[in-house]
């Protein structure tokens, strides 16, 4: 029976199951097929911190949401059109987000009374009428999978594990995706286990064929490829983009990359990825702790490498003193903070933006550093290059604030031509930089470049420039130890002026205000770019006026920021914290910021921001 095909412009799918069910893998593979197909897309993995949380429980649910469309999109979507629930816990944990009328595919095999009781279902939601207003597709995914694999020499348990491939096959059929990429992926992954490979391929095909033959699905859907800018694309997550950005930055700077890192969620993938690229001269050092990690990066940077340390909030707390040393000795250093829910251990696998003030002020003394933030997964690549530019030009620690959402989320990336990347060539000081009154030449480690106020980067091994640096206050110019009161006052101000001066090298903040008539500006930073942008689109589609701007540079701010803020009646700042950027803006510009905050560990939803912004608009 040839089935009807319905055209859609966009679809949001959420795969949900036990953390042992392979939902992240299923989501990743569906994403790859979708990317290859040419849709624009955005993803949101959401998983528990435990490697294997107790099976069948609500905290053990692992989910992966994918939004794909025939046009460019900005977020992983608010509400899924399709929920795949592999067990009662997955249904219960996710049903609240699913709008009425959506499709729900449930694995009926897992809806045993024991499993349902475990999550508090007194009677089966598949049998009472609680799911009446949804399109429920009850499918015995586990037993269908086992049945399809009966030819294979596998135990029942082993066969059951392929049920994620069965559901992937079914979804690929439903949305007209290819499965060739997944086949290749499986062949590589299980090259040494032919029996498992065969089973997974068979399950994948069985799922596809099930869609083709079952009466349950009368239509299949098609989402045409999106019209993206010309170019070569790949799908990329924030952590991967950041790692590649660092490699590219070191190549463009002409100095080797040295990573000092200690494993921490959700930043460990940076360590893993960079450890794989030694052919680019990348040295990666897994240290004994967070402090040693940054210490090694500082040591390498002192020796002329691009010193980088990668971590998350709790790690930053441990590194604070060393970052202060970086400020005092004025050395290039990149500190990457993939923010997660805090305080303390907090929510390791969830996202948050609550380390902005830690980055800004989390050190003893006046210790200013540059701070930048990427706005989308692919943008992490560009942010890495910009962090490198600032660190090497101004000889300063630079914070790059990513977050869990950017790190694990993904989107298509128009791969740049390497030659088009900025030239970040570094030049070390090799000659004396100071002329004494008698005309003799000398090296002065704290004589500054008049334009950038950066001090020279003279690395060990350079004859004639031997000098000593350290965390004790240094005399201006000579760098000798100095306890002189005027000197300390001068040095504190010089270090601040150097960081402030970075503003001369960054572009003015651009405001997106298509009609030019908006009275309200929504200003964001970091990963909120997607949901804010989507909310603004919705408002404009309905004829509303809203201006949008997004900060890449958090310290220093772009030079025109004060002017931009002053030119709107009201400024709303959505943040995944309790108003940290808002605090900085109020303090610096004396403007009455409307702070809109959420700290649920999840990104904002476009609909939620739309409503919040509309409310502000209505009140001006």
């Amino acid at each position: 029976m040839a089935k009807e095909t319905v055209q859609l412009d966009r679809v949001i799918i959420r795969f949900a199951g036990d953390s042992g069910d392979g939902m992240q893998l299923t989501g990743d593979q569906f994403t790859s097929e979708t990317a290859r197909f040419g849709n624009d897309l955005s993803t949101l993995p959401d998983f528990p911190a435990e490697i294997r949380a107790p099976a069948g429980t609500l905290p053990g649910v692992s989910a992966f949401q994918l939004h794909f469309a025939d046009h460019d999109i900005m977020t992983p979507g608010d509400a899924p059109n399709v929920l795949v629930a592999m067990n009662p816990a997955a249904l219960k944990a996710n049903i609240g987000d699913v709008p009425r009328g959506a499709d729900i595919i449930v694995n009926t095999d897992e809806f045993t009374s024991r499993a349902m009781t475990k999550v508090g279902y007194e009677q089966s939601p598949l049998e009472d009428d609680s799911l009446e207003s949804y399109n429920v597709h009850p499918i015995a995914l586990t037993s269908l999978t086992v049945e399809a694999l009966k030819e294979f020499d596998l135990t029942k348990k082993e066969a059951e594990r392929s049920k994620n491939m069965f559901s992937l096959g079914l979804l690929c059929w439903l949305y007209d995706r290819n499965i060739e990429g997944t086949e290749t992926f499986l062949k590589e992954k299980f090259a040494k286990k032919p029996e498992i490979l065969g089973a997974n391929l068979a399950a994948l095909h069985a799922g596809w064929n099930y869609g083709e033959t079952t009466e349950d699905f009368s239509v299949r859907y098609e989402v045409k490829p999106a019209k993206l800018t010309h170019g070569k694309y790949r799908n990329i997550s924030g952590n991967l983009a950041l790692a590649l950005g660092l490699v590219a930055a070191s190549q463009r700077a002409g100095i080797p990359l040295y990573l000092g890192s200690y494993p921490i969620t959700p930043a460990s993938d940076l360590l893993h990825e960079l450890s794989r690229h030694k052919e680019f001269g990348v040295r990666s050092f897994q240290a004994e702790d967070e402090i040693a990690a940054i210490g090694a990066a500082i040591g390498a940077s002192y020796g002329g490498s691009l010193g980088v340390t990668t971590t998350s909030g709790p790690g930053v707390a441990l590194k604070s003193e060393a970052i202060g040393l970086g400020v005092a000795i004025e050395i290039p250093l990149i500190v990457i903070d993939v923010q997660r829910g805090g305080p303390s251990t907090g929510l390791p696998t969830k996202t948050e933006q609550a380390d902005l003030l830690q980055a800004m002020f989390g050190r003893n003394g006046e210790a200013p550093v540059a701070i930048i933030a990427p706005q989308s997964p692919a943008d992490c690549f560009d942010a890495a290059l910009e962090a490198t530019r600032i660190a090497t030009t101004y000889r300063t620690p630079v914070f790059l604030l990513s977050d869990g959402y950017l790190a694990n989320g993904s989107e298509p990336w128009n791969i740049p031509d390497v030659d088009s990347l900025p030239d970040l060539t570094v030049e070390f000081t090799t000659e004396p930089n100071w002329t004494n009154e008698d005309g003799s030449k000398e090296f002065m480690p704290f004589a500054r470049d008049p334009e950038t106020l950066a001090r020279p980067w003279a690395i060990p091994g350079t004859p004639g420039l031997e000098h000593r640096i350290g965390g004790i206050e240094k005399a201006d110019i000579t760098g000798h130890i100095s306890y002189n009161p005027e000197n300390h006052d001068k040095m504190v101000r010089l270090r601040q002026a150097k960081i402030d001066g970075i503003a001369d090298s960054i572009p003015n903040l651009k405001v997106d205000d298509p009609s030019g008539e908006a009275k309200v500006l929504v200003l964001g930073w970091g990963s909120t770019y997607g949901p804010i942008g989507a909310a603004c689109r919705r408002i404009r589609r309905e004829g509303g006026q809203i201006a949008q701007a997004h900060l890449r540079h958090l310290n220093p701010f772009p030079k025109n920021l004060g002017e931009v803020l002053a030119s709107y009646d009201k400024v709303i700042v959505p943040e995944m914290n309790l108003g940290q950027l808002a605090l900085l803006l109020r303090g610096k510009f004396l403007v009455d910021i409307e702070s809109y905050t959420q700290v649920s560990g999840m990104p904002f939803k476009a609909a939620q921001l739309e409503e919040a912004i509309k409310e502000v608009i209505a009140n001006v």
Partner: protein, 349 residues
């Protein structure tokens, strides 16, 4: 930046480079330790020893932490960094492993290395990073004005322990050996000749060399090592180890070291044992047992019977060498940045 400075005495200076002298390593900075501090003697010995390395000044770097001893780099004319408390081994590790052409030295104290920086010390040692660590042990906190340190004897009365300290001291060399040290030595601030020989051996070693230097803090812990320095007592108290020689000490050679009944070592009277029973010192033994037993000979409180010299010196590839091997192997792959950015799964629009 790739050749490892493994035999630092032999390599380094170009043959026609001017010969450096002690003067060339003295910086113009006023030395600010208390008059009479043991650090002066160590500084002077190091300054006189450095020319013998034959390494140009610019290729030597001293990294220190915080404490009296950590001011050391300012008084030398090499590259140097006075870093933060306890973290010198981490910074030195980054520098050393990214710059194999440098001779990297760490200067630290008993508080810096064993208290706040204990973790970094043991990990640097176990990795065998190419570092020469000089641990100035004065058994007290000097810079913060006299609190007890992790090497102070139990019951030490200080400002923070008016009724006596409660924690049992570390034996730094036992600790280092427990952390898989490949080179372990001990010397005394005032014995210039002995210290020079130990520094020479440390410099030649590939990997981490840890040298404990007993250093007198005449302000807060004066005469802590008097037993080992006083001409009246030192002959009977110091066990001066010599590679390949039976361990005999005492002004008349009247003491010696023999095996005890538990497999360790003990001090005996030479006259009362057979010559064959006297243990011959061998720093190159693969097992740490011999060196460890030597460290246990001294009394943790009084330092009675303290071995000095090179306790252990064995070959194990340095972290630098292993890292370099990996870098070299990886460099056989083409470093094509454009291909890296593209990955394996792309599509055209």
């Amino acid at each position: 930046m790739s050749d490892i400075v493994d035999s630092q005495i032999a390599e380094g200076a170009a043959p026609d480079a001017p010969k450096l002298t002690m003067k060339d390593f003295k910086s113009d900075q006023e030395v600010r330790w208390c008059p009479g501090c043991g650090d002066y003697a160590i500084l002077s010995t190091v300054q006189s020893f450095l020319p013998s390395l034959g390494i140009p000044r610019e290729n030597i770097c001293f990294v220190s932490g915080i404490g009296c001893s950590s001011r050391f780099p300012y008084y030398l004319t090499t590259y140097g960094m006075h870093s933060i408390h306890g973290r010198a081994p981490t910074i030195a590790t980054g520098l050393s492993t990214s710059r194999n052409d440098l001779s990297v030295w760490v200067v630290t104290g008993d508080g810096d290395a064993l208290s706040i920086g204990g973790n970094h010390l043991i990990h640097a040692i176990r990795r065998n990073v190419n570092l020469k660590i000089l641990l100035f042990n004065n058994r007290i906190y000097g810079l913060t004005k006299g609190q007890y340190s992790p090497t102070s004897e139990l019951g030490k009365i200080t400002k923070s322990t008016p009724m006596g300290s409660l924690d049992y001291p570390f034996n730094p060399l036992s600790l280092a050996l427990g952390a898989e040290a490949t080179f372990v030595a001990r010397t005394i601030d005032t014995d210039r000749k002995h210290m020079t020989s130990v520094l020479e051996a440390a410099a030649k070693h590939e990997g981490t060399a840890i040298v404990e230097i007993y250093q007198n803090c005449n302000i807060f812990n004066d005469n802590a090592f008097d037993l080992l320095k006083n001409p009246e007592t030192k002959g009977d108290e110091v066990i001066d180890l010599k590679q390949g020689e039976p361990i005999v000490f005492g002004t008349e050679g009247e003491h010696c070291v023999v095996r005890d009944e538990f497999g360790g070592l003990e001090v005996a009277k030479t006259a009362e044992v057979n010559q064959a029973e006297i243990v011959v010192h061998d720093a190159h033994l693969p097992t740490t047992a011999h060196a460890f037993s030597l460290t246990r000979l001294s009394d943790p409180e009084t330092l009675h019977h303290t071995p000095i010299g090179v306790l252990r010196s064995v070959e194990r590839p340095s972290y630098n060498r292993l890292m370099n091997d990996q870098m070299e192997r990886a460099s056989e792959k083409p470093a094509d940045l454009q291909a890296l950015l593209a990955g394996t799964d792309t599509w055209d629009v």
